[in-house]
C-alpha cells in the first residue's frame, strides 16, 4: 500500500515550495548536520551507491556467450540501444497502460476529491478515511480480488457480454483488466493530492465566479481547475511513476502478451540474469519517467476551455434537471467509492468461503472455518509475524531518521539543501523494481572473505527503512513548514528555552504529522512486495506468502488476515476521529453559553488527524 506524497512531485514539476527557515531560531551551525547525517547516510549507502553500481553494471559486457560466466566492466553503452530494440514494445506498452490508468484515475478521482473538498461538510473526515481505508487490506490480495470480479462467466463479464460491449468476450487476461487493476491500485495517489489542492481553494472564489456571471462550467474551467493544477500534476506523476514500473497487475490480471517493462526487468534480473541489459532497462525506465515528468506539467497547464460547455436550459423538466444536476456529483462520488471498496468487499466475503477446489476465487459455501483456524497453515502466521516485526522496526527507525531530516530541512539553512531535497525525492521517483534490484546487487557485493551478507530479515529491513524515509520526510516536512514560526517565538518570549519550546510547543504541534508519517511508513513496509522480493532470501513476508501461494491456491485464511488488517486500521483511524470530535465537543459544552460568541467559523480546535495530515500535504 502506498499513499501519495504530492510535494516532491511538485518540486520536479518546477513549482518548488522552499520551506524558509524561521528567523531568529537555530543559530548553531553544526545542528543540521547532526540531524541529517544518520538518514542521509542511510540513503547514500542503500540508495545512491546501489544506483551508481547499477549504472556501472549497465555498462558491463559478458565474458563469454554464456551469461553464467559473468560480466566485466567495459563502458559498453551499446547495452542501451540493445535493450531498447529488444524490449521497445514493452516500454511502449508500459507507457500506454500507465498513461491510460493515470487518465482514468484522474477522471474517477477528480469528482470524488471535489466532492470531499467542497460538498462533504461534516462527512469530510469520514470520507477521507474511507478513501484510504481499502489500502490497509493487502495490495496483492485486493488485486487477486479483481480476478474474482472480472472472472469469465462472472457478473461483470456476463453483463457486458449481454450488452455486446466486449470485443474478446472476456476481460481477464486482456489489457482492460490490467488497466483496471493499475487504475484501482494507484487511485489514492491521485485522490489525495487532488483533495489537498482542492481543499485549499476558498469556496468563496467559486461564489465570486458565479457572482461575476460565470455559469457553473465556466467557473470550474476558469477558477477551480487552474487552481487545482498543482494537485493534478502531483497526482498524475504519483500515479504514473509506480504504474509504469509495475508488473504485479500484469502478472495477476493480464496475459503473457501484455508484459510490461517491470516484468522484463524482474525476469532479466531474477531468471535470465542478464544483468547489464536489466540494469540498462532500469535506467531507461527512470530516464523516461523523468522525461515524462518534465513534459507532463506542461501538458497539464493547458486550461480547460469551457466555452464549449452547453448552457443550462430552462424547460418544463427544469426541476428534474436541477435535481440531477445537484446530485450527479454525489452519485458519481458514491460510485467512485464503490469502485474502491468492491475488491475489499470481495476479500471480506471470501474470508467466509469454503473453497470448492484450491482456488478461493468462486463462491462455494459459507464457513467460519478460516476465521476459527487462522494458523492452520503455520507459515501464514509466521509470515504475518515477520511482516509485522519488519514493519514495526522500519517504522520506528524510518520515522526517527525522516523526522530528523525534516527538521533540518525546514528549520535550518545549510549548504547542500537542494542536494538533500533531491536525495529525498529520488527514491520516490524510482520504480520499485529499480530500487529492489539495485539493492540486491549491493547486498550480493557485500562479502568479506568467506562471509557473505545473508539475504533475509535484515536485508529486507534495511531496504524498507530506505524507502520509507522519503515518505516520512515529506509528511513531517509538510506539517512542520505549516507551523507558524511565531508560535515558537512566543514560547521563547515566554521563558521557554529551546528544550522547553520543543517539548511544549513544537513537538505537540508536529505530533499529528509524525503519527501520520509513522502510519504511512508501517503500511508501506507491511504491504511491500516488489522490493522485498529481490532482497528476502528465504525469508517469507506476508505479501510474499500470498504471491507464493497463488500457484497452489490462496487459502481463505489470507482473506481473514487482510480483513483483520483492514478493520483494525479502519477502527484505529475512526477511533481517533471520534475521540477528536468528542474532545472538541466536550470543551465546547463546558461553556456552551459562549458558543455563539465563538463565531460561525467553526474551526476545529484539535489538530487534524493523522489521516488528514497525510492528505493535506502542500501542493
Amino acid at each position: 500500500m502506498q499513499i501519495p506524497a504530492s510535494s516532491p512531485a511538485i518540486e520536479i514539476a518546477g513549482v518548488p515550495r522552499p520551506a524558509e527557515p524561521a528567523p531568529g531560531l537555530s543559530k548553531r551551525r553544526g545542528t543540521p548536520y547532526w540531524l541529517l547525517i544518520p538518514g542521509m547516510l542511510w540513503l547514500t549507502v542503500f540508495f545512491v551507491v546501489p544506483l551508481v553500481s547499477l549504472f556501472a553494471t549497465s555498462l558491463q559486457a559478458p565474458v563469454s556467450d554464456n551469461p553464467d560466466d559473468g560480466f566485466y566492466f567495459a563502458w559498453d553503452f551499446a547495452n542501451y540501444p540493445e535493450a531498447l530494440s529488444r524490449y521497445g514494445e514493452q516500454f511502449i506498452r508500459s507507457f500506454i497502460f500507465a498513461g491510460s490508468a493515470t487518465i482514468l484515475a484522474l477522471v474517477i478521482a477528480y469528482p470524488l476529491a471535489y466532492f470531499i473538498a467542497f460538498k462533504a461538510g461534516r462527512w469530510k473526515a469520514l470520507l477521507l478515511v474511507l478513501v484510504v481505508a481499502p489500502f490497509f487490506a493487502s495490495f496483492l490480495i485486493r488485486t487477486y480480488a479483481w480476478q474474482t470480479i472480472l472472472a469469465d462467466e462472472g457478473f461483470v463479464v456476463n453483463t457486458l457480454n449481454a450488452l455486446n460491449l466486449l470485443p474478446e468476450d472476456r476481460i481477464l487476461s486482456t489489457p482492460i483488466a490490467v488497466v483496471t487493476g493499475l487504475t484501482y491500485n494507484f487511485l489514492p495517489f491521485m485522490i489525495l493530492p487532488l483533495y489537498a489542492a482542492l481543499d485549499k481553494i476558498d469556496p468563496r472564489l467559486v461564489e465570486a465566479g458565479a457572482d461575476l456571471y460565470a455559469a457553473p462550467f465556466t467557473t470550474f474551467g476558469k477558477v477551480v481547475w487552474p487552481l487545482s493544477l498543482p494537485g493534478v500534476v502531483a497526482g498524475t506523476l504519483l500515479t504514473f511513476i509506480p504504474a509504469a514500473g509495475d508488473y504485479i497487475n500484469v502478472r495477476l490480471l493480464g496475459s503473457t502478451n501484455d508484459r510490461m517493462i517491470g516484468s522484463v526487468i524482474d525476469s532479466q534480473f531474477i531468471i535470465v540474469r542478464d544483468y547489464p541489459i536489466a540494469s540498462a532497462l532500469s535506467f531507461l525506465l527512470m530516464a523516461s519517467i523523468m522525461a515524462a515528468s518534465q513534459a507532463g506539467p506542461r501538458l497539464a497547464s493547458t486550461t480547460i476551455d469551457p466555452s464549449a460547455a452547453p448552457p443550462v436550459r430552462e424547460s418544463g423538466l427544469q426541476r428534474a434537471l436541477r435535481w440531477i444536476r445537484e446530485h450527479t456529483l454525489a452519485v458519481y462520488a458514491g460510485l467512485a467509492l464503490v469502485y474502491m471498496f468492491l475488491p475489499v468487499a470481495i476479500v471480506i466475503i471470501f474470508s467466509f468461503n469454503r473453497p470448492a477446489g484450491r482456488q478461493n476465487t468462486s463462491w462455494n459455501e459459507f464457513s467460519l472455518q478460516a476465521w476459527t483456524n487462522i494458523c492452520r497453515d503455520p507459515t501464514i502466521c509466521r509470515a504475518v509475524g515477520t511482516s509485522v516485526s519488519i514493519a514495526l522496526l522500519a517504522t520506528i527507525v524510518g520515522t526517527i531518521l525522516g523526522t530528523m531530516i525534516a527538521f533540518a530541512l525546514v528549520r535550518h539553512r545549510f549548504a547542500g539543501r537542494s542536494t538533500t531535497n533531491l536525495l529525498i525525492f529520488l527514491p520516490m521517483a524510482t520504480p520499485e523494481v529499480v530500487l529492489g534490484s539495485s539493492l540486491l546487487a549491493l547486498f550480493l557485493n557485500m562479502y568479506w572473505g568467506t562471509w557473505q551478507m545473508p539475504l533475509g530479515f535484515w536485508t529486507i529491513l534495511i531496504a524498507h527503512i530506505m524507502f520509507v524515509i522519503s515518505f516520512v520526510v515529506v509528511t513531517v516536512k509538510a506539517r512542520l513548514s505549516g507551523l507558524d514560526p511565531r508560535l515558537e517565538q512566543a514560547a521563547m518570549d515566554l521563558y521557554a528555552d529551546e528544550r522547553a519550546t520543543f517539548r511544549h510547543v513544537t513537538l505537540p504541534l508536529v505530533a499529528p504529522g509524525i503519527a501520520g508519517a509513522a502510519l504511512l511508513a508501517f503500511s508501506l513496509s507491511f504491504d511491500d512486495f516488489i522490493i522485498t522480493n529481490f532482497n528476502s532470501g528465504s525469508t517469507v513476508t506476508f505479501p510474499m506468502y500470498i504471491w507464493g501461494a497463488a500457484q497452489r491456491g490462496i487459502p481463505p485464511q489470507v482473506n481473514v488476515i487482510a480483513t483483520i488488517m483492514f478493520l483494525g486500521a479502519l477502527g484505529i483511524v475512526l477511533l481517533a476521529q471520534v475521540l477528536g470530535a468528542r474532545r472538541r465537543r466536550a470543551s465546547a459544552r463546558a461553556d456552551a453559553r459562549f458558543r455563539a460568541a465563538a463565531g460561525a467559523a467553526g474551526t476545529s480546535a484539535a489538530g487534524p488527524s493523522a489521516l488528514e495530515e497525510i492528505a493535506r500535504r502542500p501542493s
Binding site: Q489, A490, M492, D497, A500, D591
Partner: protein
C-alpha cells in the same frame, strides 16, 4: 493587579542598527523609552519599526548597537532570558492548549507558584474568566487579542511589546481595545512599546510617539506636539493631512514672513524647524476657516483667495476643496455648527488661519513623503481629484 506596580527602569536603545545585506532596516537608532510610559513606534510598513521591536524581544540580533533596561545590557540575551514579553501580530496563541494553559505558559516555564490563582486573576482582568477552558480557535478575534495580552502581562515584564496587536480587528472592536489596552497599561504601570502603522491608534493610546521612516526616527514627541508642529513633511503627512505652500523666507523677526505664489503668509519663529531660506508652510485642514464674499476677515490672520471646487458633508464636519489662482487645491474642514449657510461649489471664498497654527518645514522636503504609504488615513482624494488629474496629495497640485 493594581497593587502590582513594579519598579521598572527605562529602556535604552543605543545606536541600534540592523542590516540585511546592504540594506539597513534599522539605521543607527538611539532612543530612551521612559519607564511606565506608553510608547508608540509609528511608521509605514518596511520602516523598521517591527525589526526594532523584534530586537528588543530578542528575536533578531542587532548588527550593531546596544539595548539596555536601566543598567542591564540585554543586547545578546536569548529571548527567554529577557524581562520583556511580546503580544504578537495575529497573537500566536498555542492552538493545542486551552486559554488557561496559554496564559499559564510563562509562569510554568519559570516554575512560579500560585499559577492557578494568578492566571484566574489575570483572566478576570481581561474579562475572560469563563473562557479558561476553551481553545483559542473557539474565541473571537477580540477575545484572542485579550488572551495574547494576558499571556504576556501575567509575567510582569519590565517592558511589554505590542506588534500591531489590533491590526486584525474591525474598526469598532479596535476602538474598544484601544481604550482597554490604555486602561490595562495605567493599571499595571508597565512600559508598553507599541508598533503600529495606524496614526490614530498611536495618537489615541501613546504618551510618546516616534515616527519612523527608512530605519530612522523622523520625529519624537507627544502626539499633540508632532501633530501641531511636525518637523518634516513625512511626519506632517503621516500624522494626518496638511496643506503645504512652498515659498521664500523674506523676513525673520520673531515672526517669519514667507512669500509663496505671490502671497505673503506669516508664522511664529518657534513653529519653524529649519534655518533654510526656502521653506514649506504647512497648515492642518481643520485650522482653515472659509469666509464667504462680503464677510469680514479678522485682522492678523493669514489669508488666501480661492474658489470652492468640492464640498462633501461628512456629519461632524464639511470638507471643502478650494482652488487657488495658481492651481493648488487646499483642503479645509469646517465644523457643522448649524449656523451660517455653507459656501457652495463654485463660490469665491477667502481662506484664513491663525499664523500660530502654521508650521514651517525645510523647503527641500518631498511634499508627498509619507503619503502613498497610508492613503486611507489621508482619505479624501475622490472623484474631484481624478477629474482634475491631480496626484493624490493634500498639498501642491502643480
Amino acid at each position: 493587579m493594581a497593587d502590582a506596580f513594579k519598579q521598572v527602569d527605562d529602556l535604552h536603545l543605543v545606536r541600534l542598527t540592523k542590516r540585511y545585506g546592504e540594506h539597513a532596516a534599522v539605521d543607527d537608532l538611539t532612543l530612551t523609552i521612559p519607564a511606565g510610559s506608553f510608547f508608540a513606534l509609528l511608521g509605514p510598513s518596511g520602516c523598521g519599526k517591527t525589526t526594532t521591536l523584534r530586537m528588543v524581544a530578542g528575536l533578531e540580533v542587532p548588527s550593531e548597537g546596544m539595548i539596555r533596561i536601566g543598567e542591564q545590557d540585554i543586547t545578546h540575551l536569548r529571548p527567554f532570558k529577557r524581562p520583556v514579553n511580546t503580544v504578537f501580530q495575529s497573537y500566536a496563541l498555542f492552538p493545542h492548549m486551552d486559554i488557561f494553559e496559554n496564559v499559564a505558559f510563562g509562569l510554568r516555564r519559570r516554575g512560579e507558584k500560585n499559577v492557578e490563582l494568578r492566571v484566574n486573576e489575570m483572566l478576570d482582568l481581561v474579562e475572560l474568566g469563563p473562557m479558561a477552558r476553551r481553545r483559542p480557535a473557539q474565541l473571537s478575534g477580540g477575545q484572542q487579542q485579550r488572551v495574547a495580552v494576558a499571556r504576556a502581562l501575567i509575567n510582569r515584564p519590565d517592558v511589554l511589546l505590542l506588534d500591531e496587536p489590533l491590526g486584525a480587528l474591525d474598526l469598532k472592536l479596535r476602538r474598544q481595545m484601544q481604550i482597554e489596552l490604555k486602561r490595562i497599561q495605567t493599571e499595571v504601570g508597565i512600559t508598553f512599546v507599541h508598533v503600529t502603522h495606524d496614526q490614530e491608534e498611536a495618537m489615541t493610546m501613546a504618551d510618546t510617539i516616534a515616527v519612523m521612516n527608512q530605519g530612522r526616527i523622523e520625529q519624537l514627541g507627544a502626539p499633540q506636539d508632532i501633530y501641531d508642529t511636525p518637523h518634516t513633511a513625512f511626519a506632517a503627512n503621516f500624522l494626518g493631512q496638511s496643506n503645504m505652500l512652498p515659498g521664500e523666507v523674506v523676513g525673520r523677526d520673531g515672526i517669519v514672513t514667507v512669500r509663496a505664489f505671490g502671497q505673503v503668509v506669516r508664522l511664529p519663529q518657534e513653529k519653524v524647524s529649519t534655518d533654510a531660506d526656502r521653506i514649506i508652510v504647512g497648515v492642518r485642514p481643520e485650522k482653515l476657516h472659509l469666509h464667504r464674499e462680503g464677510t469680514e476677515v479678522p485682522a492678523g490672520r493669514n489669508t488666501l483667495d480661492g474658489v470652492v471646487t468640492d464640498a462633501s458633508f461628512v456629519g461632524v464636519s464639511t470638507q471643502y476643496l478650494v482652488a487657488t489662482s495658481w492651481g493648488q487645491e487646499l483642503i479645509a474642514f469646517e465644523q457643522n455648527m448649524g449656523s451660517a449657510t455653507r459656501p457652495a461649489v463654485g463660490e469665491r471664498v477667502v481662506v484664513s488661519w491663525e499664523p500660530g497654527h502654521s508650521f514651517g518645514l525645510d523647503g527641500g522636503d518631498d511634499l508627498n513623503a509619507g503619503i502613498e504609504e497610508d492613503l486611507r488615513e489621508v482619505g479624501h482624494y475622490t472623484a474631484s481629484d481624478a477629474q482634475a488629474g491631480l496626484a493624490p496629495t493634500p498639498a501642491v497640485g502643480g
